[in-house]
C-alpha cells in the first residue's frame, strides 16, 4: 500500500503526459484535500494527462449554479460530487423525528429535486457518492419500526438517485456505503471532522481515488480489455509438470479453495465481456490436460481467446497474444505469481499493466474484486448476447434469493416442461446428456447417438426428453427418460436431469407424467433402477421420497417399484405439455 504522503511526494515529481488532458473536478460540502495530488499520480500511472480542480470549501451548489464559476471556466470532463449526509440533510438528519413521516418524505424528495437541478447545470459526466446511512438512530432499537424513518429516508434518497442515474447515461452513483463497509469508521473521521470539517480520514484518500479511477479509465479510453494469466501457482496451486493432475491444488476444500474462488471471480469478469488469455511457461500437453480434465477447473479452453503455453519467453508470448486477439498491448493486464516475470514484463513492455499477486493465496480472490481497470461506461449489446444463458441463470438466482422460500420461487417461475419423443433433431442432445450428466442421473448409463436411435426405433423402449422453459428463458433440452417396456411393468432404464434444472420439482412432474402414461397403457407397475456412483448422491433419495418401494438391493444397484394407481404428487404450477 502506497501511503498518502508518498503520493504527495510523487505528485511533485510528475512529468506531464502528452496529449489533451482529461479535466477532473471535485466538489463537496466538506473539506477535501490531497485528492488532486493522488488523482494526478494515478492518472499518470495509466499514461493519462490530467488536470484536477478542487472546488471551494462547501461551494458545490454555487459552483454548479453560477455559470461564471471557476468550475465552469475549468470546463471539466468529469465532476466528482462528495456529499456528507449529515451536512446535506442538516436538521432532518439530526432531529428526524421532529417531523412526521409525510414531511420526512417530502423533504427527501425536495432535496432530490434540488440535486437534479444541480446536475442539469453541467454537461459533464457526474459521479456522485451515495449518501452514507448512519449507524445510529435517536430511536434506538425502534428505528426499523419507524414509518419512513431516518435510515429508510436516506435509503430512499439513494434509490431516487440510482433510478435517476439509470435513465441518465452521464450520471453515475458511486456506492459509498460499500466503501465505508470496507474501510470502516475512518470513512467518517470524527476527530479531523471536528478540527477541519474533514469527513474522510486522509489515509483513505488514495483508496477512494482508486475507486474513482474505475470511472476515469473508460472516459479516457484507457480501460483494459484482456486479462492475461499465468497457470502454475496462479490458476492452481503447485506446478502441473511436477505435481501432476491429481497433485495440483484446486478444488472445494482448504488449500484448493482460494484457487477455485479466484477462477470463479475471473469467470465472472469473462461473463461481462473481459477477454481472457494464458501466458505460461509449461509443457503445453500437461497444462491442457489440466485445463480440459481437472474436475474443478472453472476456466475452460472455450473461455480463452489466446493461449501461449510453451517455453518461449513471456515477453514474446505477450506480444503474440496482443497480435492474435488484435488489441493493443496497453489493454492487457498481466497476472503472474512470479516476481521475476512481472518485473521482466514491466521493464520490457511498460504498456502492459502488471498486477502484483499477493504472497498469501487466500488474498487472490479479493485481488480480482479490486481490479477496476475493465470498466466500461455501458455494457454493449454484444457483451450481453455473449453471456445470454449466464445472464438468465443470474436472474434466476436473484429471483430465488428474493423469494420467501423454494416453493414460492418455483411457483412464480412459470415453468413449462415440454416432453418429446426422441427424433432426429433431439437425438444428438439426448446422447450428449447421457454422456455428460453425473449428478441427477439414476443409472449413469452412457449411450452413443447410434444406440439412442436404436432404442428409439425399438418396439419395447420409449425414449423421451424434456425442454424446460421459465420466465427467464429457455434452458433447452435438459432431461432424458428411457423406458424399457417389460411384460407387466415399465422399467426406468435412464432418468437424468441437467444440473441447471435440478431442485425445481421437474423430476416430480416427470415421474407423475410417466405414471399416467403407464396407467393409460394398462401397465400396473413402474420399476426404477438406481445405480450409485461417486457423483450421483443428489439423486439417491429421490425414488424413496416419491414413495417407491425398495424391491431388490445389492452392492451395485437398487430396484424400486411403484404402483401406477398411486395418487401422484403434483405441483400444478408446473405446466407439462406433450409434443
Amino acid at each position: 500500500m502506497v501511503s498518502l504522503n508518498e503520493y504527495i511526494e510523487r505528485s511533485k515529481k510528475l512529468i506531464p503526459k502528452p496529449g489533451k488532458p482529461i479535466k477532473l473536478a471535485l466538489l463537496s460540502n466538506f473539506t477535501i484535500k490531497w485528492f488532486e495530488e493522488v488523482l494526478r499520480v494515478l492518472c499518470s500511472e495509466h499514461s493519462i494527462a490530467a488536470e484536477v480542480y478542487t472546488g471551494g470549501y462547501n461551494q458545490y451548489a454555487q459552483e454548479l449554479i453560477n455559470q461564471d464559476s471557476k468550475l465552469h471556466n475549468f470546463d471539466p470532463d468529469m465532476v466528482f460530487l462528495l456529499l456528507d449526509t449529515d451536512k446535506f440533510l442538516g436538521e432532518q438528519y439530526q432531529f428526524p423525528y421532529r417531523l412526521n413521516p409525510a414531511q420526512r418524505k417530502t423533504l427527501i424528495e425536495t432535496e432530490f429535486n434540488g440535486l437534479k437541478k444541480l446536475f442539469s447545470k453541467t454537461g459533464s459526466i457526474i459521479i456522485v457518492n451515495s449518501f452514507l446511512i448512519p449507524s445510529f438512530s435517536p430511536m434506538g432499537i425502534l428505528e426499523s419500526k419507524q414509518e419512513f424513518g431516518l435510515k429508510e429516508s436516506i435509503e430512499y434518497l439513494n434509490k431516487l438517485l440510482r433510478d435517476y442515474a439509470k435513465q441518465n447515461p452521464k450520471l453515475f452513483v458511486y456506492d459509498f456505503s460499500s466503501f465505508a463497509a470496507k474501510h470502516g469508521h475512518k470513512a467518517r473521521a470524527s476527530k479531523l471532522d471536528f478540527m477541519a470539517d474533514m469527513k474522510l480520514d486522509p489515509e483513505l484518500v488514495p483508496a477512494l481515488c482508486k475507486e474513482y479511477m474505475g470511472y476515469i479509465l473508460p472516459v479516457a479510453s484507457k480501460s483494459k480489455k484482456c486479462l492475461v494469466l499465468d497457470l502454475d501457482n496462479t490458476l492452481w496451486g503447485g506446478i502441473i509438470g511436477e505435481d501432476g493432475l491429481e497433485g495440483i491444488k484446486l478444488g472445494p476444500e482448504k488449500e484448493g479453495l482460494p484457487f477455485l474462488e479466484f477462477q470463479k471471480r475471473i469467470l465472472a469478469l469473462f461473463e461481462r465481456g473481459v477477454i481472457l488469455a494464458i501466458n505460461s511457461k509449461n509443457n503445453s500437453e500437461d497444462a491442457l490436460n489440466a485445463i480440459r480434465n481437472h474436475p474443478y477447473m472453472v476456466l475452460k479452453e472455450e473461455h480463452f481467446a489466446s493461449m501461449r503455453i510453451n517455453w518461449n519467453d513471456k515477453v514474446s508470448n505477450m506480444k503474440e497474444i496482443a497480435k492474435e486477439i488484435n488489441i493493443g498491448l496497453d489493454t492487457l493486464v498481466f497476472l503472474d505469481d512470479d516476481k521475476l516475470n512481472r518485473s521482466l514484463i514491466r521493464e520490457m513492455l511498460p504498456e502492459v499493466t502488471v498486477v502484483d499477486l499477493p504472497e498469501d493465496v487466500s488474498k487472490y480472490p479479493e485481488l480480482i474484486e479490486e481490479l477496476n481497470q475493465f470498466n466500461s461506461l455501458q455494457i454493449t449489446k454484444e457483451d450481453l448476447n455473449k453471456g445470454k444463458l449466464y445472464a438468465q441463470q443470474r436472474k434466476r438466482n436473484v429471483f430465488e434469493k428474493s423469494s420467501s422460500n423454494i416453493e414460492d420461487f418455483i411457483n412464480k417461475l412459470n415453468m413449462e416442461i415440454k416432453v418429446s419423443r426422441a427424433n432426429k433433431f433431439n437425438i444428438p442432445r439426448i446422447s450428449q446428456l447421457t454422456q455428460k450428466t453425473n449428478q441427477f442421473n439414476m443409472t449413469t448409463k452412457r449411450y452413443l447417438e447410434e444406440q439412442i436411435k436404436e432404442l428409439a426405433n425399438s418396439e419395447d423402449h420409449l425414449v423421451l426428453c424434456c425442454d424446460v422453459k421459465d420466465r427467464f428463458g429457455d434452458n433447452g433440452i435438459t432431461g432424458v427418460i428411457i423406458i424399457e417396456k417389460q411384460k407387466s411393468a415399465w422399467l426406468i432404464d435412464t432418468f437424468l436431469l441437467s444440473c441447471r434444472i435440478i431442485g425445481r420439482q421437474v423430476e416430480d412432474t416427470l415421474i407423475n407424467y410417466l405414471l399416467r402414461l403407464a396407467r393409460q397403457s394398462g401397465v400396473k407397475t413402474l420399476k426404477a433402477q438406481f445405480i450409485p456412483t461417486k457423483k450421483n448422491a443428489p439423486a439417491s433419495q429421490f425414488y424413496k421420497s416419491f414413495g417407491f418401494r425398495l424391491a431388490e438391493e445389492n452392492s451395485k444397484m437398487q430396484l424400486w417399484e411403484l404402483s401406477t394407481d398411486t395418487e401422484p404428487r403434483f405441483n400444478k404450477n408446473l405446466k407439462l405439455m406433450e409434443e
Binding site: 501511503s3 498518502l4 504522503n5 511526494e9 511533485k12 484535500k33 490531497w34 476527530k191 479531523l192 471536528f194 478540527m195 477541519a196 474533514m198 480520514d201 486522509p202 489515509e203
Partner: protein
C-alpha cells in the same frame, strides 16, 4: 534525526528539523499539514491522539513530550 523529526521532515517537505521546529519556523507547517502530521504520527507510532492531545502538537518539542508521556517515545 529521530523518528519524530523524520516524520515532520517528510510531511513538511524539508530536509532538516531542528529543536525549535514549529509553525513559526517552518513555512510549510500550515493547518492542512498539521492534519497530515497528526495522521502520520498516529500511523508511525501506532497510537491514536485525542482531541486534547492534538491541541498539544504545536511544535517539535511539544510532540516529543506528548509522545514521551504516552510512553511510546524515549
Amino acid at each position: 534525526m529521530n523518528k519524530i523529526q523524520e516524520i515532520i521532515a517528510r510531511v513538511m517537505g524539508i530536509k532538516e528539523v531542528k529543536e525549535d521546529a514549529s509553525p513559526e519556523t517552518i513555512e510549510a507547517w500550515d493547518s492542512f499539514n498539521q492534519i497530515m502530521l497528526v495522521s502520520e504520527l498516529e500511523t508511525g507510532f501506532g497510537i491514536n491522539f485525542t482531541m486534547d492531545d492534538i491541541q498539544k502538537l504545536g511544535s517539535y518539542k511539544q510532540i516529543k513530550s506528548l509522545l514521551e508521556s504516552k510512553g511510546v517515545f524515549k
